[in-house]
């Protein structure tokens, strides 16, 4: 049976810093700014906050952010593990707290100097970011050290099994870039690109080249979650959390689930989709637009299949038919995604999903968005959330 959490909490505020390659300030400064902006957006005061949630890999302690922003007493502080897999998991923590009365107003935040500070592309050598050293012992001596290398291994097999070609990966990259071109906050604002640039860019790990990989960015994002009752009296129209799930599946490892029956699949995301849909009684046909975690181009394809927009092995054709584009079936990553806006570990995606439901995206689809999907990182335990308008 699905969790009874649908419509028990609403997102009422969103905030983001600028995104850059060198913020010139501390991660705490970024977190504080993002949180304050989200509270201002909601019309709430720092003293209204009684809960804070972030990622285990975030370097900003909840109490440090609370003190910096001037929040008062906290009744909830909680963290979600597994890198970008935590993104929508923060919403689940917040929604559970709000639904049960553990807290009334919870801020979910993530801030990082992902380019000027610790870069994830620099791999797990020496300076482990997460997970145990023993886990990575099975990969480090062989040189399989970076997120791109792990994802490449799944991608190669997926392409082998389904016949997916680089045409589909290019379409994912090109579609998000086309959105970013219109988004002043995006790294690739006003910078479109061609197939030739894509095909001749630096090779990373076969079959991935540079533009199959997301940005590395400095920046922070935050959202404010509270009860639907309180949401009715705030500055912005509330955005309901219709469904939200986080899941790890059998045989799961952190980024290296190479030992399952079939590795060209993401069963943890299948589980999250089933659970989130079941919570609210919705299905893929009800989703009008999406923010699909795009650390790498191929992972968007697998998630389209998990969330039922097409069948297994059909995502390449689905995207090549233009379905991610403004006029397509599922306008996706309308902010430019992490490939082209910024890599804030999926929380900039939650912010964009809220904008889509509010109707305020810079690339707002030319149709009413009753429901938007937003997902978390792939290859790790993951999740997703379905956001919708308040009745």
């Amino acid at each position: 049976m699905a969790a009874r959490i649908s419509d028990k909490a609403a997102i009422v505020g969103i905030g983001a810093t600028e995104f850059s390659k060198d913020s010139g300030r501390s991660e705490l400064a970024l977190a504080a700014e993002a949180v304050k902006k989200a509270l201002d957006d909601a019309g709430l005061k720092p003293a209204d906050v009684d809960g804070m949630v972030t990622f285990t890999i975030d370097q900003n302690e909840e109490v440090d952010v609370a003190r910096a922003v001037g929040c008062g007493d906290l009744k909830l502080y909680s963290r979600v593990p597994y890198g970008g897999g935590a993104a929508t998991g923060t919403l689940l923590q917040a929604a559970m707290a709000v639904a049960t009365g553990v807290a009334e107003t919870v801020v979910c935040y993530r801030a990082l100097n992902g380019r000027s500070g610790q870069r994830y592309s620099s791999g797990v050598s020496g300076n482990l970011i997460t997970g145990s050293a023993i886990h990575y012992s099975w990969y480090m001596p062989f040189g399989l050290l970076t997120p791109a290398s792990w994802v490449a291994m799944f991608t190669q097999r997926y392409m082998h099994l389904t016949g997916c070609s680089r045409d589909a990966l290019f379409e994912v990259a090109q579609a998000t870039r086309a959105y970013a071109v219109n988004n002043p906050a995006a790294f690739f604002y006003q910078r479109p690109f061609t197939r030739e640039e894509y095909d001749t860019a630096k090779k990373i790990c076969e079959p991935l080249r540079l533009y199959d990989c997301c940005q590395e960015s400095d920046g922070g994002c935050a959202v404010v979650v509270t009860t639907p009752e309180r949401a009715k009296h705030l500055k912005q129209p509330g955005v309901l959390i219709r469904g939200v799930a986080q899941c790890a599946a059998r045989g799961q490892e952190e980024m290296t689930s190479f030992y399952r029956e079939e590795i060209a699949r993401i069963p943890e995301m299948d589980l999250a989709a089933d659970e989130a849909y079941a919570q609210c009684g919705l299905s893929a046909k009800d989703i009008d637009a999406a923010v699909i975690y795009d650390a790498f181009t191929p992972i968007v394809l697998w998630q389209l299949e998990s969330w039922g927009f097409c069948k297994y092995g059909e995502a390449a054709d689905f995207v090549k038919d233009g379905n991610l584009r403004p006029g397509g079936r599922l306008p996706t990553n309308t902010h430019g995604g992490q490939l082209s806006e910024a890599y804030i570990h999926g929380v900039n995606g939650i912010v964009e999903a809220v904008r889509l439901v509010r109707g305020t995206s810079v690339n707002q689809p030319n149709k009413p968005v009753a429901h938007a999907l937003v997902t978390s990182g792939v290859g790790v335990p993951t999740g997703g959330a379905i956001l919708g308008r308040m009745g």
Binding site: I134, W138, G143, I204
Partner: protein, 323 residues
């Protein structure tokens, strides 16, 4: 350097960012056919549009042009720079680096934009700015900073004709660093070549790596239900037994998936480096490198045979070769 010294040093060098290295440098010679001819002879570029007046006149260029890559040449200091180099801000900055032990210099990369063709008679002036100094970086050559200069080239009308970004690494050569000194003290003066990152060994995996050191690839086996498992774990997920032994693998298998690793390149690893998920005949999989084949020869389903072998001074690994 103490943290205070580092802070002072960084404040000193950062004060240079954004400054012009000196007055704009007007080229000593205007763009001229003789220098163009010397350049094309040396580089072996035989395109007639650079030297053949009649051909060039009929080409889309409508006359002789200078090879675009000569852009920087026109405003260079010339032979004088070997004798009495002018003390501009850039050299001043490098001297500060030198005085703090960052005596190494390495041109790392350059990129150039060309806005129009240069023709004989054009006068080129270079305007160079110290555009950026990176955070402190640890590189294979040693600890250092990347310095980026941007040069704008203008013509006799003051119009932009090109732009060049030039990046150098100013670094403390590795052998000079305290760590390197300590590790080589008393030993041969040549630093040891880098090795692969060693697998951390703990309760649940050390036995497996010790077997590898002995030349054996082992597979953990549950004593309760006989299930094979890799990577090793302390409990059987099927029957919950914590008793286990291990069998030695036949080292026969096939490629289940693979990737060729291009970037970033880590010190101690040979590139091109092929990495595969290998499906062993026994039924378990493991990550290992492929050897004895070219990247384009590898395919999913390719039969392979493993060999446990020493790959560097510290590392023994299973490598898989085409069977």
């Amino acid at each position: 350097m103490t943290p205070e010294e580092t802070r002072d040093f960084e404040a000193k060098i950062r004060a240079y960012v954004g400054r012009e290295v000196g007055a704009p440098t007007r080229g000593k010679d205007d763009v001229n056919p003789a220098m163009i001819r010397h350049w094309t002879e040396v580089t072996g570029d035989e395109s007639p549009v650079y030297c053949d007046q009649a051909f060039a006149a009929k080409s889309s260029k409508g006359g002789i042009i200078a090879p675009p890559t000569m852009l920087q040449i026109w405003s260079m200091e010339g032979y004088a720079m070997c004798q009495r180099p002018e003390m501009d801000l850039q050299r001043e900055l490098h001297k500060i680096f030198d005085a703090h032990g960052f005596v190494g210099v390495l041109g790392t990369n350059t990129s150039t934009d060309f806005y129009r063709d240069l023709r004989p008679g054009d006068q080129v002036t270079a305007h160079t700015v110290i555009d950026n100094i990176s955070e402190r970086k640890t590189t294979a050559r040693g600890v250092g900073y990347f310095i980026e200069t941007v040069t704008k080239f203008t013509d006799q009308h003051g119009a932009d004709v090109g732009r060049q970004v030039f990046r150098v690494l100013k670094f403390m050569p590795n052998a000079e660093t305290a760590e390197a000194k300590a590790s080589t003290a008393g030993a041969a003066d040549k630093p040891a070549p880098p090795t692969r990152i060693q697998a951390p060994r703990g309760h649940d995996n050390a036995w497996w790596w010790e077997a590898i050191d002995q030349g054996k690839l082992m597979i953990q086996r549950c004593k309760g239900c006989g299930t094979l498992r890799h990577p090793p774990r302390p409990m059987c997920g099927d029957c919950n037994s914590t008793e286990w032994d291990a069998i030695e693998s036949s080292l026969e298998g096939e490629v289940y998936s693979f990737t060729e690793l291009h970037y970033p390149k880590f010190p101690g690893y040979p590139y091109p480096l092929l990495c595969a998920v290998v499906q062993l005949r026994e039924g378990t999989r493991l990550i290992a490198n492929l050897a004895g084949c070219e990247p384009e020869q590898v395919f999913i389903g390719m039969k392979v045979r493993g060999k446990v072998e020493r790959v560097d001074d510290k590392t023994v690994l299973p490598n898989f070769y085409p069977a």
